[in-house]
């Protein structure tokens, strides 16, 4: 478990001291990416802690599906002048909330 905060801190250091071109993506897509990461990390954590093996594939698939579907919804919304921003983020937020729910003491 301790490895996760360590990796987050390493990532933060990299992000802070190197110019990673985040500004190429719009703010909506950044929010989507952030939420998709939270969802996939918590999903992976649940699987890892429940003792399941071979979790890399499912985590990656969940991340990709979240990004692709959410990205498509936002893109479609922008093209059709409809604000579908929250619609795109909602499933990921629900997924993240359900994953976190599994950590609650039973």
């Amino acid at each position: 478990m301790w490895a996760i905060p360590v990796m987050v801190i390493i990532g933060f250091t990299i992000g802070y001291f190197f110019n990673i071109p985040f500004n190429l993506a719009g703010s909506k897509y950044l929010a989507l990416g952030f939420l998709a990461l939270l969802d996939s990390i918590s999903y992976g954590l649940v699987r890892d802690l429940s003792g399941q093996k071979g979790n890399n594939g499912p985590i990656l698939i969940r991340l990709i599906i979240g990004l692709v579907l959410g990205g498509f919804i936002i893109f479609f919304g922008e093209k059709s002048q409809t604000d579908l921003y929250l619609v795109a983020l909602f499933p990921l937020a629900v997924g993240f909330a359900l994953n976190m729910y599994k950590f609650l003491p039973k």
């Binding site: 996760i4 987050v8 250091t13 990299i14 992000g15 001291f17 985040f22 950044l30 990461l37 429940s50």
Partner: protein, 261 residues
């Protein structure tokens, strides 16, 4: 898998084998999450001021692109109109020898007013922004070219005897006239209501040596910019052509003073 099953398995796992190995993908994504968490600390200083509401931004962009299209059409019409006027003036000048002097004088005023393209020797000054140093707490806005920088340079060039000035950014060149404006609009700079981004090329027709010396003198307008990684390059040019001012010059209120009878 339901939440109850996971909860039970997690509970049993903590009782039995305490060391559960985290999958590599979870760790990689944690790294990516950390990188994303650094984003607010990198971006917020750049966008100082009130952020635009995300809903209206797309609408504003659409409206702006429409206005730009209309603007291009109007510029084309304006150029056609000016061509007509020029041909009429030419035929007038040809028809009457007496009007030759008047035509010359008009030509001079048209150059002064920026209504005709102009040619001559001068300088080209290129201003470019570079990466700001990753100094925590440094104000990144200082490392960008602002309206004040361009205005100071243009003032200095006028003062040094420039007879015509134009600013180019990418493929747009704007001739400066007496009603020209240079101002910051967000991260862009509007010159004659044309949005421009660095690098900027500033062309000035005049005595190349005078213009060069005015810009490069100690404590001059370019020296403070070097401190903020804004590079400047001056090239003396034997000949260059500056385009005519493309905006409207219609006067609605100002008119000649009526002489008392």
């Amino acid at each position: 898998m339901t939440s109850v099953e996971v909860g039970n398995e997690m509970k049993s796992s903590t009782n039995g084998n305490r060391k559960k190995r985290l999958s590599g993908m979870t760790l990689i994504l944690s790294l990516a999450l950390g990188i994303m968490l650094a984003l607010p600390f990198k971006v917020i200083p750049r966008n100082s001021g009130e952020p635009l509401p995300s809903e209206s931004r797309q609408e504003l962009l659409n409206r702006m692109s429409k206005i730009e299209e209309e603007n291009l059409l109007l510029v084309t019409e304006l150029e056609q109109g000016r061509g007509t006027i020029a041909s009429l003036e030419e035929s007038l000048a040809q028809g009457e020898e007496a009007s030759q002097g008047l035509s010359d004088q008009m030509s001079r005023y048209r150059i002064l007013a920026g209504l005709d393209p102009v040619q001559g020797p001068g300088i080209r000054l290129t201003l470019s922004e570079h990466e700001s140093p990753a100094i925590p707490g440094a104000d990144i806005a200082n490392y960008l070219i602002h309206q004040e920088d361009l205005l100071n340079i243009v003032n200095e060039i006028w003062l040094a005897g420039a007879e015509a000035i134009a600013i180019r950014s990418r493929n747009r060149t704007e001739r400066l006239i007496n009603t020209s404006t240079i101002r910051c609009v967000g991260s862009l700079i509007d010159v004659n209501n044309t949005r421009m981004t660095p690098p900027f090329d500033i062309f000035a027709i005049g005595d190349a040596d005078d213009l060069y010396n005015a810009l490069t003198m100690p404590w001059g307008v370019l020296e403070p910019l070097e401190f903020y990684n804004i590079s400047s390059e001056i090239v003396k040019m034997d000949d260059m052509v500056l385009p005519a001012y493309s905006g409207s010059t219609i006067l609605q209120y100002a008119r000649q003073v009526e002489e008392a009878e």
